[in-house]
């Protein structure tokens, strides 16, 4: 090893401080009161590390570095200003960019070093490039599905899992061969290309409802590939940042899988989304009670405690701001209003909380599933807006249901349940919901935004505007 020169020590010192700031950044994110401080710590660490790197004496020209930094910032600003409903696809896109960066750097490093690449370096480089390229195309596909430029419906065919696992196995086989024979440079492009194809194939069979898990998993891969890059470049800062990201993605993936009562392999290899054949014919005869906005307003006004259960349908109908007006109207009458949020209510982890916070609903009124469920037996009205499967009591009681065992919000335990829904058609997963036939359930048929708007008008002014 060549001895470090003076500037080298300074650069390493900036990296060390940046590493500390990154950890603090995530620590401060744990609570909404300190979270913004966390962003500042992250920014400071990032700035310090980038400026430190610019003093690296091996740099002979700043021309391309400067152009690229400016161009990247120009692209980054609009990506930081997307609408809150578009955050999931933005996040998927940024996983793709992160993975692209890692794959390109890995590829450049390989061609700079080949054919004399030590075995360990080649192993981590292969890991970096394989994870990076499959995350790149996989995330682009996920972003396309979320943005609805690609069909959201899962596409399946016979032997799909065999093809996918086969592709992955070939890529790993090539990687092993390259570790043993790093001079086989003609094989390198295949090690990049095959995972690129695998990334596409992996997302094809995945439907919209599984997106929270998939985004988290891709997040984890992006982090791990960056950590692998840290090993290749011998950069401890990158190893730490990559492992933090990898750990975060992993924790979120586990959370999401648990919330849907499914394993990773089940999400990746068992397409959901197909409509189940209708169970028993008896349900045809069961009756459903419905109510008008006036009746709903009267019931809500008479309540002491209301829990609103929002689902992605609320965001699709752009009803969050009307829901805030309802929250205001009820709070003014002394009704205790809270929100019960299922972990997969939305298209990525925590998405629903952001949408409600954007509509100015205080975050201390937002309860996660574990906080909300003990509350339902003491709740007068549970108001379900645009959520379906996450309130389906069949998940608790009916072992033949495809969602049996999935943790749900126990809205049926509230004194009265009101469900705003366009029609009786089954939800995203195509599963019938027995909640709608219960005696304490009232259906409010209509568009979420209009219906909530009508309730608010009833409560605030007796519909004076017509």
């Amino acid at each position: 090893m060549t001895p470090m020169v003076g500037s080298q020590y300074v650069i390493q010192l900036t990296y060390l401080i940046a590493t500390g700031l990154f950890i603090l950044s995530l620590k401060w994110l744990s609570s909404p009161t300190t979270a913004r401080r966390g962003v500042w710590a992250g920014e400071a660490g990032m700035l310090l590390a980038i400026v430190g790197t610019l003093f690296y004496e091996g740099i002979v020209s700043y021309q391309w570095v400067a152009i690229a930094l400016v161009l990247g910032s120009i692209i980054g600003v609009p990506l930081g200003k997307v609408a809150m409903t578009a955050v999931p696809q933005r996040t998927a896109l940024s996983h793709a960019f992160g993975a692209l960066c890692v794959t390109l750097v890995g590829t450049a490093e390989y061609y700079l070093r080949a054919p004399n690449v030590p075995r360990f370096t080649m192993s981590v480089l292969s890991l970096e490039v394989i994870l990076g390229s499959l995350t790149f195309t996989g995330s682009l596909m996920a972003a396309g599905k979320l943005q609805e430029v690609l069909p959201q419906r899962p596409i399946t065919y016979k032997g799909q899992n065999f093809v996918n696992l086969g592709l992955l196995a070939i890529a790993i086989g090539i990687a092993v061969y390259l570790v043993l024979h790093p001079d086989a440079m003609y094989l390198y492009p295949a090690m990049v290309a095959i995972p690129l194809v695998f990334g596409v194939m992996m997302i094809i069979p995945i439907g919209g409802a599984d997106m929270p898990t998939v985004i988290s998993l891709l997040n984890s891969y992006a982090g791990l590939s960056a950590a692998a890059m840290g090993f290749v470049l011998d950069s401890k800062l990158l190893i730490v940042a990559g492992s933090l990201d990898g750990a975060s993605g992993f924790i979120l993936s586990v959370n999401m899988s648990k919330a849907m009562n499914r394993s990773f392999s089940n999400v990746l290899f068992g397409a959901f989304g197909q409509v189940q054949p209708a169970g028993d014919a008896a349900q045809e005869a069961r009756s459903v009670r419905s109510a008008t906005p006036e009746e709903a307003a009267a019931i809500l006004s008479a309540a002491n405690k209301v829990v609103v259960v929002p689902g992605y349908g609320m965001a699709v109908a752009q009803a969050q701001h009307k829901v805030r007006e309802l929250y205001d109207a009820l709070t003014k009458r002394g009704v205790d209003v809270k929100f019960g949020i299922h972990p997969v209510a939305g298209r990525m982890p925590g998405h629903m909380n952001v949408l409600l916070a954007e509509a100015d609903i205080p975050y201390d009124k937002l309860m996660d599933m574990d906080e909300a469920n003990p509350d339902f037996p003491q709740t007068d009205v549970a108001l379900v807006i645009g959520a379906n499967d996450v309130t389906n009591p069949a998940a608790r009681s009916d072992a033949s249901s495809p969602i049996y065992g999935m943790p749900i919000l126990d809205v049926d335990k509230a004194r009265t349940v009101m469900v705003i829904k366009r029609s009786m058609s089954p939800g995203f997963a195509g599963i019938d919901n027995p909640l709608y036939y219960l005696d304490n359930n009232l259906m409010l048929f209509g568009d979420a935004k209009q219906f909530v708007g009508s309730i608010v008008r009833e409560m605030t002014g007796g519909g004076g505007h017509g």
Binding site: S30, A222, Y363
Partner: protein, 98 residues
């Protein structure tokens, strides 16, 4: 194996433990900002790309490095921007007492 490598493996293991412990404590309320923030931090990979594009050892390395800087910088800028925008929206109830 070189001692460097062992040190790196120690760093990786410790960072993974810290990551799990710190991130486990993040409230589900903030899981979306968590993902966008870790994504921005992950873009620290830009330092590797800067060295590649700045060293200009081969044309391939310069080109790939330059594209990599663009990709990572957009994540840095976009990631921090949107995380801060989201966090600004989270307010406690006393701010809107009637």
């Amino acid at each position: 194996m070189k001692s460097d490598l062992i040190t790196s493996l120690y760093v990786f293991m410790l960072a993974a433990f810290i990551g799990f412990e710190v991130i486990r404590r993040v409230s589900p309320l903030l899981h979306t900002p968590l993902m966008s923030l870790t994504n921005a931090l992950d873009a620290i990979a830009v330092v590797g790309a800067i060295i590649l594009a700045g060293k200009q050892e081969t044309r391939l390395a310069t080109v790939l490095g330059t594209i990599a800087i663009v990709a990572a910088t957009s994540n840095v800028v976009g990631g921090f921007l949107i995380t801060d925008r989201m966090l600004k929206m989270f307010k406690a109830s006393r701010t809107q007492k009637p």
